[in-house]
């Protein structure tokens, strides 16, 4: 029994279908508990006032926006190296979720930035690289939609994802160089000094867990949808061939 057994679409569906509702349920519980805890039962920050409550949405979504792309990169590499269709479809399934996460991070950031920095948008390195990440997501999705042959589409988008990752990283450092930012440093780090205070930390962890679980649930569900689409296509093509022969 190895992990590659799940590359079989039937096996993948059989294993993940019962898991999806659990993931959705757990994601819902941790999000509801985490957000209510954060919203109602944490104190205001002495400098930022009540806007600190936005952290419970902003940090997890920003985290997932990047992790979704990383997951797509890993899945693309698996597809290019081992040619497992489920892997390519999982990458395709993750992209719209990544877009949603990026949008949440950008919007909550803008709403947070307005009272704190006095501006909705600043060409700060972190903000700018998120906007660029958003463009990469758009290009990736657009390329999937433009190509009709599924295997060609999987190959091309995988290569785009690889090349895009290199350039996204490069852009991240390029924009650092280009403008010093307003954005504070990392909210979560192994260095205790830099970390956010404990009162905010615990509900934040719960919200992150919720976002991760929600991401997993959505990707599994959407991957199943993509497998279904692929199967419909295959069956319809077979039916058409039989009609032609008859």
């Amino acid at each position: 029994m190895s992990i590659w057994d799940y590359a079989n679409p039937k096996k993948f569906i059989a294993t993940t279908t019962p898991l999806v509702p659990w993931f959705f349920g757990l994601a819902g519980v941790s999000l509801v508990v985490g957000l209510i805890w954060g919203f109602f039962f944490t104190p205001d920050d002495f400098r930022q006032g009540s806007t600190v409550k936005i952290i419970y949405l902003h940090v997890p979504s920003a985290l997932m926006a990047i992790n979704a792309w990383l997951m797509m990169l890993v899945a693309s590499l698996i597809w290019l190296i081992r040619r497992h269709h489920v892997s390519a479809l999982a990458a395709k399934a993750a992209a719209p979720v990544g877009i949603a996460m990026t949008l949440i991070a950008l919007f909550t950031g803008a709403i947070w930035g307005e009272p704190m920095w006095g501006t909705w948008w600043a060409w700060d390195p972190r903000l700018t690289s998120f906007l660029i990440l958003f463009l990469f997501y758009l290009g990736y999705v657009a390329l999937w939609q433009a190509i009709s042959d599924p295997d060609t589409a999987a190959d091309l988008t995988s290569i785009l994802c690889m090349v895009g990752s290199v350039f996204a990283l490069l852009s991240r450092y390029a924009v650092n160089f280009w403008n010093q930012g307003l954005h504070q440093g990392a909210s979560l780090s192994l260095d205790k000094e830099e970390n956010v205070a404990d009162v905010f930390y615990q509900p934040l962890l719960l919200c992150i867990a919720g976002f991760v679980l929600l991401f997993l649930a959505l990707v599994l569900l959407r991957t199943r949808t993509e497998i279904g689409r692929r199967r419909i296509r295959a069956l319809e093509m077979r039916a058409r061939r039989q009609e032609v022969r008859a």
């Binding site: 957000l35 919203f39 109602f40 205001d44 006032g49 009540s50 806007t51 409550k53 936005i54 949405l57 902003h58 979504s61 719209p96 979720v97 949603a100 949008l103 949440i104 919007f107 909550t108 709403i111 947070w112 307005e114 009272p115 929600l214 959505l218 569900l221 959407r222 199943r224 949808t225 279904g228 689409r229 199967r231 419909i232 069956l235 319809e236 077979r238 039916a239």
Partner: protein, 50 residues
């Protein structure tokens, strides 16, 4: 028991609203697509067997 959000009530509430709407949108979209694809797949498979 609404907490006192002070001057920033609008910002905090709109951030929550935007996020929840976007999360709900992607969840609903995924579920609707999953349903419709499954229904179409059932149709096609029926035709295939029948």
């Amino acid at each position: 028991m609404m907490p006192d959000l002070g001057d920033y009530a609008g910002a905090v509430l709109s951030a929550y609203a935007v996020s929840i709407v976007l999360l709900a949108a992607i969840v609903v979209l995924s579920v609707v697509q999953a349903r419709s694809v499954r229904r179409r797949l059932d149709d096609v498979e029926d035709r295939d067997n029948g």
